[in-house]
Subunit: 204 residues, 2 copies
């Protein structure tokens, strides 16, 4: 049996993805599992459900809970967090940059840097200058080349395809974990997903 | 400092509340905490958000996930589960009966019996005959008296007040855990809520 990958699907503007990129690699490594990060856009998926904005803005009671929950979760995990002055921020540029950076050894650092920029430092990840600085800090030695690649038709197409793949595989929020056809929604289900992965796919 | 109660707010028609009533008492007892069950109605709260039906029906992709997630969760916890032929069922009668049964030593058994009737045995908890049988099986020796009390103005009023209290305290889904002003949403946050409760309120 072919072992499926352990995929965590994230959206650059998503608050709970901020928690996931900070906790998942350690949790997975502790159980001998490597993560495949997959970046997609929630906007088209939300619009298909009739939402023109984040559900946390459309449903303020849920939004108020989410911000308090983020404070608690980040506090518990020692993750820097400060509610940004704008939510959601436009994550398109950052998502393209992450897509262009797949396979790079500094991908995890890039992800954490972009989420910290948005959700701890209140910086605008739609600004190429911000993204360039985060790329450099993550260990990328050619940030301008990555930014150029991020604007290419190949990467734009790849991100659209990824978003369509997410929708087709039942993803409706972020972060989501996919192990083959099995979907787990939310950063608080990473352990359940790891247990599922290991029991179905065998130890590495 | 007065120790707040550890309140779990449930809605009789809610799938994830089925998991909560089966796992929470043991999880809380293991940490020396007693649960105060609080029953309310999600219908008025959903309607205030513009939803005329369960979000799991309004957003079928989310609904498909929830049913699969319930299978997995109940399997993991050894909780009987079978997707009911009707969802959501009208939980008003059952909610009034549970409200009338507060303080009874068999309240936990009643809750588990009602949720199993709905979510494992595909029985209609809106049917007084079904509720009477579950009351008797739970250890209530006067089911008809409880059913009569459940139809009283006092209990109807109390359930309306509870629902209003839930809304006022920020509850937007079920199960929800309230420790004073602190809200935790979802059966998968019971442990977090227990940790919060014990750290803030001191050991019992």
């Amino acid at each position: 049996m072919t072992k499926p990958s352990f995929e965590i699907w994230i959206e650059l503007a998503s608050t709970y993805s901020h928690v996931a990129v900070h906790v998942a690699e350690r949790a997975a490594a502790a159980r001998g599992v490597g993560i495949t990060w997959r970046t997609f856009l929630l906007g088209p998926i939300f619009r298909a459900q009739g939402w023109g904005d984040s559900p946390f803005n459309l449903y303020p009671v849920k939004g108020a809970y989410m911000w308090r929950d983020m404070e608690r979760l980040c506090g518990n995990h020692g993750i820097p967090f400060r509610r940004p002055s704008q939510f959601p921020r436009n994550g398109l540029l950052a998502a393209r940059v992450v897509t262009a950076a797949e396979g790079q050894p500094w991908l995890g650092e890039l992800l954490r840097g972009l989420y910290r920029a948005n959700f701890a430092e209140d910086r605008d990840i739609a600004d190429p200058g911000c993204v360039r600085a985060v790329l450099a800090a993550a260990g990328c030695d050619a940030p301008d080349a990555v930014l150029a690649e991020a604007g290419s038709d190949r990467i734009k197409h790849q991100l659209r395809e990824r978003t369509e793949e997410a929708r087709r595989r039942g993803v409706f929020g972020a972060p989501s974990i996919l192990v083959g056809d099995e979907l787990f929604w939310g950063q608080d289900r990473i352990d359940d997903a790891l247990t599922w992965y290991l029991s179905r796919a065998g130890q590495p």
